[in-house]
């Protein structure tokens, strides 16, 4: 598989270098919103959508910035684009799918400070992906984020029923679980080389 094919870019972002478990992006929602399977799924979908939109916008903005030799403004532009993309997604959802909008609730505005989104935009710039690769990369990253969130939520739902020592409850336990998940994802490292 060629390393620049769309399929490889997708798999790379989704599994081999999973955004959450190998690159440590988006840990806050990963720990915060993974308590229930249904919310984890919704959060994953919303994040994937915002990733897709902001990746497209970031690609366009980057071309413009290079055209005018304003690369030092990249960070400020990206974060502004992401904030407005989140706002846009919020308004679109409210208009066309009020049910989904209510289901996502507070998670939507919080996506702005999810570092996976900005990380995605920055990584695709550093790696100089073309348009199609950027699309594949954003979808792969979104799928990987959703996958990690769902796996974690499933584990934590089961864990609620089990008897764990007082000391290890809460964040400490979640981090240990995340470590084990990350360890298992290490098995994919080196895939495709």
């Amino acid at each position: 598989m060629a390393t620049d094919s769309m399929m490889f870019v997708f798999l790379n972002a989704c599994i081999i270098n999973n955004f959450v478990l190998s690159s440590f992006l988006g840990i806050c929602p990963f720990l915060g919103v993974s308590g229930k399977l249904s919310t984890a799924w919704n959060m994953g979908l919303a994040t994937t959508f915002v990733m897709f939109v902001s990746s497209l916008c970031a690609y366009g903005i980057n071309l413009l910035l290079i055209e005018f030799q304003l690369e030092f403004l990249r960070l400020i532009c990206y974060i502004a684009v992401i904030a407005s993309a989140v706002q846009l997604v919020e308004m679109t959802l409210k208009k066309f799918s009020p049910v989904l909008f209510r289901a996502l609730g507070i998670f939507l505005p919080l996506i702005t400070t999810n570092c996976a989104i900005l990380g995605l935009a920055l990584f695709q710039t550093f790696r100089e992906y073309n348009f199609l690769q950027s699309v594949a990369y954003s979808l792969g990253a979104g799928a990987g984020f959703t996958l990690a969130l769902i796996l974690m939520a499933g584990l934590r739902e089961r864990l609620q029923l089990s008897d764990v020592p007082n000391v290890s409850q809460g964040a400490a336990m979640s981090l240990m679980l995340a470590g084990l998940l990350s360890l298992s994802f290490m098995g994919f490292a080196g895939l495709g080389n």
């Binding site: 960070l75 007082n166 240990m176």
Partner: protein, 229 residues
């Protein structure tokens, strides 16, 4: 997450004398952004595979936090309420761009080791959180002290993780070999899972200490009750 007794104690203390030392120390120990508030986890886990990286990240975040807190506190009466978050983000992004170029100029190796995580300081929740929760409501001096305390607390937490991970995962501290040649490095500590495990272990340790403290605080009362019986 805060210890009930100490939190209540500090509140009493705050009400009686809101001294600046307390503002400064809160961030370092009582409200440590990483170990107590669990904020800004991404850089904490990602760049702590060596002490040097952890220190550089801590100082970079401290600088951005200090500058943005100061500026937000200075402008707190001029920024309209509706656009405050956007204004804070633009302020923070400006300082992060400065830090990004400064680190690139000082050490390119360090810049490559930290990668995108320097630029990702923009979305570190600690910085936006302090701007919104503290700097926008307090005077410049207090905001500066708060930023220093939080920044130092963050740096210390990064060093706690970076130290453990480098010592176990590489057998070195700041690049100096500690255990001699026969040491078998635990390479998992340098790899991503190690970050989760070490942070989890630190949280376990703090939980355990807290529980022991609570037990100790309780036990004199129990003894008293038993002697009365």
């Amino acid at each position: 997450m805060t210890t009930n007794t100490s939190a209540a104690h500090s509140e009493v203390k705050l009400k009686s004398q809101p001294d600046s030392m307390d503002t400064f120390l809160r961030g370092i120990w009582q409200d440590n952004p990483v170990f107590v508030m669990l904020l800004g986890m991404c850089p904490v886990l990602a760049v702590t595979n060596s002490v040097v990286n952890a220190l550089a990240m801590g100082i970079a975040s401290l600088f951005v936090l200090f500058c943005s807190n100061t500026l937000v506190a200075l402008l707190r009466n001029f920024i309209p309420k509706q656009v405050r978050i956007a204004s804070y983000i633009v302020i923070i992004a400006t300082f992060v761009t400065v830090v990004d170029y400064v680190i690139q100029a000082i050490s390119l190796d360090l810049y490559n080791a930290l990668g995108a995580f320097i630029q990702l300081i923009v979305v570190n929740c600690i910085i936006l959180g302090r701007a919104e929760a503290f700097a926008s409501k307090n005077k410049v001096g207090a905001a500066m002290l708060d930023a220093l305390g939080m920044g130092i607390g963050f740096t210390l937490a990064l060093l706690c993780l970076g130290g453990v991970r480098e010592i176990l995962g590489n057998g070195t501290f700041l690049g100096i070999s500690l255990f001699g040649e026969n040491f078998q490095a635990w390479s998992v500590m340098i790899l991503p899972p190690g970050g989760f495990f070490v942070l989890g272990a630190w949280l376990l340790l703090f939980n355990w200490l807290k529980e022991r403290k609570d037990m100790k605080a309780l036990s004199p009362d129990l003894q008293l009750a038993e002697t009365k019986n």
